[in-house]
């Protein structure tokens, strides 16, 4: 028998979360809850397992294909299980002027990964603008911003993660 998607605790959180999300929209517009519902699923499981997306679709009264269509459009949804820490490095213009390309190369070297690759512990990605242009260079680890990064500060951060 297949393992259930959620633990009892997770199931409780998912049910309460879906009910809260649906309360924000007109009753005939359940599908509007797609983005928050997918986020809820990802917060619980760390990614969007297909059976989870089917469940979201069922609650929102849409087809599973619709859930997949939305999930695959936005870069913050993980369709595959990522590493424990997802590191997004901004290399857009303002950050690049403060050395972000070299910071990314340093990270690739330290983690043994090329941007776009994952291992069990890390997913490293090059991203487009995190709105930290005044505190460049910047990256985020699992949606937490780290700004004005020097090599020393980045080493300190990596020491915490490893």
């Amino acid at each position: 028998m297949a393992e259930p998607l959620f633990t009892p605790e997770e199931q409780k959180k998912f049910d309460a979360g879906i009910a809260e999300i649906l309360s924000h929209y007109p009753p005939d517009r359940k599908s509007a809850g797609m983005l928050p519902a997918l986020r809820l699923l990802q917060d619980l499981k760390g990614w969007l397992p297909p059976e989870g997306m089917r469940l979201v679709a069922k609650h929102l009264e849409v087809t599973p294909e619709r859930a997949y269509e939305v999930a695959s459009f936005y870069v913050m949804y993980h369709l595959k299980k990522p590493g424990k820490y997802v590191i997004d490095v901004c290399t857009n213009l303002s950050c690049a002027l403060w050395g972000a390309e070299k910071m990314l190369a340093y990270l690739e070297d330290r983690l043994g990964l090329t941007a776009g690759e994952s291992n069990e512990k890390f997913t490293l990605r090059e991203t487009e603008c995190l709105a930290s242009c005044g505190t460049a260079p910047c990256l985020q680890v699992n949606e937490e911003h780290h700004e004005s990064l020097t090599k020393a500060k980045l080493d300190e951060l990596l020491a915490k993660l490893t």
């Binding site: 983005l35 986020r39 870069v75 005044g134």
Partner: protein
């Protein structure tokens, strides 16, 4: 982050302890403007906003009161307010500070706008990467509900208003107002063909106003001190102050509140703002209004950071993102970075944008790496023109303005820095060698 301001209206409380709380906001006179507005007729509120000359701060600069007046008064459908907090244009990071440091100012603007428009549900659409700003905003909304500002009555008035935060999931295009509405409806962010405009057919097919965070945060000031006072702060066509975001090669990047007469030169060199260039560096180029705004050369910077003045220079005030490049920066590489952004963020709906933006990026990479041929510059120009010809600004071949945004930088960089592009091709290498990003390229 430095926050020195000339006439601090929006940023006045930044840096003060707990500036984001309801208590702090009320001690500064917060929600008094809402009380005044609730005593007025909705039509009179819209007239006051019109008189204030408040223009949208999201990028397009459309007059706010006029936008509000487009909402049909006799529609049997519910009306909606959608707050555009999907700040994603490279070089722009101002709305983030409002959400983090003074969210109640925006919430008060939401309440006034909702009452004026007959809106009972507001969605604050915050870009997905803004976890902390979203948490701060939600906490402020929770405070507002507890204090009777939102909920079944607004400050005791027989008027119901609910306000919800919705986080995006990483798509720049969702800052385009119709894409934002699609995303709010739980779909991928594909812009809609206009007309009909959202004021008539918006969220769930109902009349909807989409306003930027800074725009709504400006609204309480129109009522607390009057539309005449607010209008006098700006120019004839644009009232109030502006938040501008200074980034790139300057000594003190940051968000600064300026009056409409402040020039780019002042912003970069004044001690109140950027405090000049790093030692030994000169300004080479400046993008004045977010990455989509046509670039200006070093000899064009004595221009006010204001909608009309920048338009005269064939560029735009846009989202307030001023990016400074120094004299050791490679313009081909800078443009490649910008082009790459638009290629990554194109939604793929329109062929010129879907095909053209990656083509631009590939050509620029080829030129930067010294593999360019003389015909590539003409080709690059043609590809950009296929997405959006230049000039005019804003009449591209795509459904939304992302196509314009992708083509404008290419046209303007090619126009102003053509010799640098040609040098790459003739020398078959980047003339800036291994330090193409200038003084700060050596990250350590």
């Amino acid at each position: 982050m430095a926050t020195t301001a000339f006439e601090p209206i929006i940023s006045g409380a930044w840096g003060q302890p707990k500036s984001w709380t309801l208590d702090h906001y009320r001690k500064r006179g917060g929600y008094e403007a809402l009380k005044k507005a609730l005593e007025m007729q909705p039509a009179a509120i819209i007239d006051e906003v019109k008189k204030s000359n408040l223009r949208g701060r999201g990028g397009a600069g459309f007059p706010t009161g006029l936008k509000w007046s487009f909402v049909p008064k006799d529609s049997p459908k519910p009306k909606y307010l959608a707050v555009n907090a999907d700040e994603s244009e490279p070089g722009t990071f101002k709305d983030r500070y409002i959400l983090e440091l003074d969210p109640h100012m925006m919430l008060e603007g939401i309440a006034i706008a909702s009452y004026a428009l007959g809106v009972h549900t507001c969605y604050v659409y915050i870009r997905g990467e803004f976890k902390f700003p979203a948490e701060r905003t939600q906490a402020a909304i929770d405070e507002a509900y507890k204090a009777g500002i939102f909920g079944k009555t607004v400050l005791g008035k027989d008027f119901q208003l609910d306000c919800y935060v919705v986080r995006g999931a990483g798509a720049y295009i969702c800052g385009e107002e119709t894409a934002l509405l699609e995303s709010l409806e739980g779909k991928k962010g594909w812009p809609r063909l206009k007309p009909p405009f959202p004021a008539v057919v918006g969220l769930f097919g109902s009349p909807t106003v989409v306003n930027n965070v800074e725009t709504l945060a400006s609204v309480p000031h129109v009522f607390s001190r009057g539309s005449d006072w607010y209008a006098k702060l700006g120019t004839d066509k644009s009232g109030g102050t502006r938040l501008v975001c200074l980034s790139g090669t300057v000594n003190r990047p940051g968000v600064y509140e300026v009056d409409m007469g402040t020039t780019i030169t002042q912003l970069i060199f004044d001690d109140k703002y950027g405090r000049g260039m790093p030692a030994g560096r000169k300004v080479k180029a400046v993008i004045p209004g977010g990455s989509s705004a046509p670039v200006l050369g070093a000899d064009e910077l004595d221009v006010a950071l204001e909608f009309e003045a920048l338009k005269v220079k064939q560029t735009m005030a846009g989202s307030g993102g001023v990016i400074v490049m120094d004299d050791s920066s490679c313009m081909v590489r800078c443009l490649w970075r910008v082009a790459r952004f638009y290629a990554e963020e194109s939604c793929g709906q329109c062929t010129p944008c879907r095909e053209g933006t990656p083509w631009q990026t590939r050509l620029l990479r080829k030129i930067e790496e010294g593999r360019g041929e003389p015909s590539d510059l003409e080709l690059l120009s043609n590809v950009a023109s296929s997405i959006a010809p230049y000039p005019p600004i804003g009449l591209g071949n795509t459904i939304c303005a992302l196509g314009d945004a992708a083509a404008l930088p290419t046209h303007s960089f090619l126009m102003r820095y053509r010799a640098e592009f040609e040098a790459h091709i003739h020398e078959k290498r980047c003339p800036f060698g291994d330090k193409p990003w200038g003084a700060f390229g050596d990250w350590s």
